[in-house]
């Protein structure tokens, strides 16, 4: 059953009661919340995802987003993210309940899914090759990711690149794409197909909203992809669209430093990371116009590294 087949009333009832079971990529979640904006966010963004009644299935992560104290409902109301009954974060303003759920889910995966080497990077796929997009905040990574997935690329993840330690393949986790500040109107203007949920203002990252993942990306969320490129995007006003080959050794170092669990995995992290860099072409990518950037990526996808 897909989440969109649940009525709003049923979804609210489930979330307030024993929770809703939700499948996202290789992980299953049990989500509970009494906060209406969490139900609205899930209904807006997770419609294509498989759901079940919480008591019907095992879940990897049991999470909830709820107000910590009923008294705070009137005085600067807040919400807590809970994982297996623990509170890993400080509470956030009540208005930020939905982004807190998304951030909390990222934390659950990055702290626990050590069957993968997990790199802090977006990843998209076309013609059978995955492009990993690691970059520091403010580099235009999420904007580019959103532009690509609205132009026919498959969303594997906008935040967590999951590299299978046995196969080297990348496992999809096509949850909503987080957009911040100016990226929100840019993506709204870029595509009429973009559905972006209600923004949350004044978060630690500014104004935040989420782009609904494409239906096809969700349908193929159990289909891993081989890595083909590691591309470091950098948005600069007025910059020409340009791909420049990049040092593989330095690419490896950046990936290792930006992996959530590289240190935890020890020598195996080194093995998986070097194999990844071995099989990919590495580039720096500068751009200022999103349509030109998408066209450059499309040309790249026509000539994957294994095509010689």
């Amino acid at each position: 059953m897909k989440l969109l087949q649940l009525s709003s009333a049923d979804l609210l009832e489930c979330l307030r009661g024993s929770g809703i079971w939700l499948r996202t990529g290789p992980f299953s979640l049990r989500v509970r919340s009494r906060v209406p904006s969490v139900a609205a966010g899930l209904a807006d963004l997770y419609g294509q995802f498989e759901v079940r009644r919480a008591h019907e299935s095992f879940a990897d992560f049991h999470v909830s987003v709820n107000a910590p104290n009923p008294l705070r409902r009137w005085l600067r109301p807040q919400v807590d993210f809970s994982f297996d009954g623990q509170l890993p974060f400080k509470p956030l303003p009540y208005d930020q309940a939905y982004p807190m759920l998304e951030w909390g889910l990222n934390w659950c995966v990055s702290m626990h899914a050590h069957q993968y080497l997990i790199i802090h990077a977006a990843v998209v796929e076309k013609n059978g090759g995955a492009a990993i997009l690691p970059a520091p905040p403010g580099s235009g990574k999420s904007t580019l990711t959103a532009g690509l997935v609205l132009s026919g690329w498959r969303l594997l993840s906008d935040e967590l690149t999951l590299i299978d330690r046995k196969t080297g393949l990348i496992h999809p986790l096509p949850r909503p794409v987080s957009l911040k500040n100016q990226a929100i109107p840019v993506i709204q203007a870029f595509s009429r197909e973009a559905f972006i949920n209600r923004p949350s203002h004044d978060t630690a990252k500014g104004t935040v909203a989420h782009l609904r993942p494409p239906k096809e990306s969700v349908r193929r969320q159990h289909e891993p992809a081989p890595p083909a490129w590691v591309i470091f995007p950098k948005w600069t006003a007025g910059a020409e669209t340009r791909l420049t080959p990049r040092s593989k050794a330095q690419t490896f170092m950046f990936l290792a430093q930006n992996a959530f669990n590289y240190s935890h995995l020890g020598a195996d992290g080194f093995r998986v990371g070097t194999q990844l860099v071995d099989r990919t072409a590495c580039y720096d990518f500068s751009y200022s116009r999103l349509d030109e950037a998408v066209a450059a990526f499309d040309r790249l996808a026509d000539t994957p590294p294994w095509a010689g």
Binding site: A249, M253, A256, G266, F270
Partner: protein, 83 residues
Amino acid sequence: MRFQLKEYGAEAVAFDTASGDTHYLAPLALALFQLYREFPGLSSDGARHMLAQRHTIEPGLPLATQVDETLDGLCRIGLIRPE
């Protein structure tokens, strides 16, 4: 073996199984590391001369300074042992 090395052209990355640290080796560091693997007891003067011969560069002051600094760095992270 304490170190796992992966070369990418003139550069490399090295994983230290003892500390769990990963190091980037720029071309000069990789060249020196390879030299000391071949000739473990090499002096820094000897390293400079062999580098100059192999890579047809002048064994003058800039190279001497760079080699000394790089050797210090390689010793510090344990990739080569000081004589």
